[in-house]
């Protein structure tokens, strides 16, 4: 698999390697929405002039754009994180029926261990649900090679292909060998209506076709080199897929292994053949018992991990314990919790919201960090867009509670606009805050429609958040600098008491975009009364000393001045 001499040229992450592989496979169109651990795929592919790549408004739109490109005859790629697939499920399920015109691969980057997500759903189940083939690489090297195979399989069987990555593969790097791009000839332009118009008269026969097609792909699954047996030594063999394969190799490099690069449709005959070769079979897979259930259906005697291992990421050192049938011992997460950066424009907003003692319906973004102490001022975080629509629901469920809905600029464009229209249409009132830091910050500062820049770095039409909020039905739209906390507080307080639907846009750029410092903060220890109010803003540049005073890290301090604003004793001044 790896040859020392060949590896002098480059190391790439799984995401970069996948992007490179798609490029080499002749992909023409790529679309997605940023989300950890998937974001670097499109950020890498954007460098290639031959690829028409975009950040779409959300995953559903991205899916339809990429899939449409396939209908149009271009090899195309959809990319998102696991929960992004949920947003794209509507077109995804139907695309299995309609099939493709040119190769179409759906990349899902799952997050076992919830490193940066709201759940750890195992999207291998989407493959069996939608009845489309599933490819699972084990490493960046395989990601690059298998994505090419995925395009070929897509075209051979006229089906979308689900390509499942996991955080550990996305964000690990290894030696990669580059190849040349092979340009694919587009098929003649033809859109057969019986294939692509999913009205009942057509979708019933397409369902019949889908069932036949998945059986044909099953036959392929039995013989493809993506699924192979490593004979090895010993009487105990492993069935595995994804990164788990490497953990087995780390522990038992010589053991017999049935390695599944294409785990759905499951290669039954190959599994039965493997079962004859070894005395004991152990299934090793992360999260859901996906392979395990197939083994049960085939009534092949096997051992699998204790259900306690269905939660969280696998590790190399877990493998011997899984074999012994042990339960997983949950360990407390150690280490320092993440917090808002020094100078982050979200901090003053949540400081004010905490002071006002309002309940806050939150959303997906860096600002979910406000749920942690000492800020503790965000009360829900469900999914993209819920900062508005769950806000509306909570208002309807509990009318008397002072409540604010909060979401970011990119999140608002992703799926907040529909929620705002819904709230206005259904006569809801209240306060919605759009934290406009002019970027999609948490996932690595990608542009979005409200920034006026495309994935490729080109200038484009800039969406006005004020205008769209207004035409969606907001009674009042207020734009405010969040660092002017008195003004911000006044606007929120007033809006909470009137009977309007108010959108407050707090506008100040993310510190990753605007790195300029606005002076520094001076600390006069003689004036300090040790009240520790400045520690309540949870700034990484401020720490408490053993004597109860504070220390300001001048390398970290951005001079935002929020601590100066909150200090009642003038112990902190800006210089």
């Amino acid at each position: 698999m790896q040859n020392k001499k060949k590896f002098k040229d480059i190391i790439l992450s799984g995401n970069e390697a996948l992007a490179r592989g798609a490029y080499e496979a002749g992909v023409n169109v790529a679309a997605g929405y940023p989300g950890t651990p998937s974001s670097e795929i499109l950020e890498y592919i954007k460098r290639f002039d031959e690829v028409d790549a975009q950040w779409s408004v959300n995953e559903k739109v991205a899916f339809e754009v990429a899939y449409g490109a396939s209908i149009g005859g271009a090899r195309s790629l959809y990319v998102s994180k696991h929960v992004g697939i949920n947003v794209a499920m509507d077109p995804l399920m139907v695309s299995a029926y309609t099939g493709i015109s040119a190769g179409f691969v759906i990349v899902t980057c799952d997050d076992p261990g919830v490193h940066s997500s709201q759940n750890e759903q195992d999207n291998r189940r989407i493959a069996s649900f939608a009845k489309m083939p599933l490819i699972e690489p084990s490493s960046p090297f395989e990601a690059k090679e298998l994505i090419k195979k995925a395009f070929d399989i897509s075209e051979k069987y006229q089906t979308p292909v689900l390509f499942r990555m996991t955080t550990r593969i996305c964000h690990s790097k290894e030696n990669i060998i580059l190849s040349k791009r092979i340009e694919k000839q587009k098929p003649p332009f033809d859109i057969p209506m019986k294939q692509y118009v999913m009205v009942p008269a057509n979708s019933y026969p397409r369902h019949l076709y889908l069932e036949k097609r998945i059986l044909r792909i099953k036959t392929f699954s039995e013989k493809t080199k993506l699924n192979f047996i490593e004979n090895g030594k010993g009487i105990t063999g492993f069935i595995t897929s994804g990164v788990s394969y490497l953990y087995i190799k780390e522990n038992y490099p010589d053991a017999p292994i049935l390695k599944l690069g294409m785990s759905y449709p499951f290669p039954e005959k190959l599994a039965l053949k493997f079962a004859k070769q070894v005395k004991n079979i152990i299934v090793v897979e992360e999260l859901e018992p996906f392979i395990e259930e197939q083994m049960k259906m085939l009534a092949i005697k096997h051992k699998a991990k204790d259900p306690s291992y269905r939660v969280g990421e696998l590790k190399s050192e877990f493998i011997p314990k899984i074999i012994q049938g042990q339960k997983k011992k949950e360990k407390k997460r150690t280490g320092k919790k993440p917090l808002f950066c020094a100078g982050c424009p979200h901090r003053p907003v949540f400081y004010v919201l905490k002071q006002l003692k309002v309940t806050v319906a939150g959303d997906i973004g860096c600002y979910a960090l406000a749920a942690m102490p000492p800020l503790s001022s965000l009360h829900t975080c469900l999914c993209m867009g819920a900062g508005i629509s769950a806000f509306e629901g909570i208002r309807r469920g509990r009318k008397e509670q002072p409540l604010v809905g909060v979401l970011g600029d990119s999140t608002f464009v992703h799926s907040g606009i529909t929620g705002l229209i819904n709230a206005a249409y259904n006569k809801q009132t209240g306060v919605i805050i759009i934290l406009d830091n002019s970027t999609t910050a948490m996932t690595g500062c990608q542009p979005n429609p409200s920034t006026g820049i495309t994935l490729k770095g080109e200038k484009t039409k800039k969406l006005s958040l004020e205008k769209i909020a207004e035409v969606s039905g907001a009674d009042e739209v207020i734009v405010v600098d969040p660092f002017k906390i008195k003004e911000l507080k006044k606007h929120i307080t007033e809006s909470l008491s009137n009977k309007k639907l108010t959108v407050i846009i707090t506008r100040s750029p993310c510190k990753f975009i605007d790195k300029t410092t606005k002076g520094h903060v001076d600390y006069n220890i003689d004036k300090c009364k040790k009240c520790q109010v400045c520690l309540q803003i949870d700034c990484p540049a401020i720490s408490k000393t053993a004597e109860g005073f504070i220390d300001i890290d001048s390398e970290l301090c951005s001079g935002c001045g929020l601590c100066v604003e909150v200090c009642s004793f003038k112990a902190l001044t800006k210089k």
Partner: protein, 161 residues
């Protein structure tokens, strides 16, 4: 059980300190010397000032991208508050380079150079060639900061003599 010749290093600290950059330099340097390399890192929410870690493993054949428990040859701690998080990951014969963190903090003019200082320390222990380290630094660091970084890399190398 066959054990192959893999060197495993865990870099850890707090987001924003250059932990990932240090690991990137190490991974590249190992690659320039012709090793098979694996590096794993964290992205997303964890990077916002929270604990970060990155594993670099190199040798003839490397399987797992993360260092298994009690298999690390070197631990590089970049922040005092984080010390101890990976204690159990160190091999019995491994080396914890923690003592050099405070040594380095006394002499670097800015804390952002601590990562490169520690890389300098590490460079004395590993079999990666000096020229590959320098090449990796030049490849990773923005050109205007390369000179300073190379200076503090050599200070780290000197630091352990």
């Amino acid at each position: 059980m066959m054990k192959n010749n893999v060197t495993s290093i865990i870099f850890y600290g707090i987001g924003g300190q250059g932990v990932l950059t240090a690991a990137e330099i190490c991974a590249l340097a190992a690659m320039y010397d012709g090793f098979a390399v694996k590096k794993s890192e964290v992205h997303g929410m964890a990077q916002r000032g929270g604990s970060v870690e990155s594993h670099v493993r190199f040798g003839d054949i490397v399987y797992s991208p993360i260092t298994p428990y009690a298999q690390a040859d070197y631990l590089i701690c970049c922040h005092n508050a984080e010390y101890g998080r990976f204690k159990g990951y160190l091999k019995k014969t491994g080396t914890d380079l923690f003592e050099f963190l405070n040594k380095g903090l006394l002499i670097v003019p800015k804390k952002i150079f601590i990562n490169i200082y520690l890389i300098g320390v590490l460079s004395v222990y590993t079999e990666i060639s000096e020229q590959s380290w320098i090449r990796a630094i030049k490849q990773t660091i923005k050109s205007q900061f390369v000179e300073d970084n190379i200076k503090w890399f050599y200070e780290g190398r000197k630091g352990i003599v």
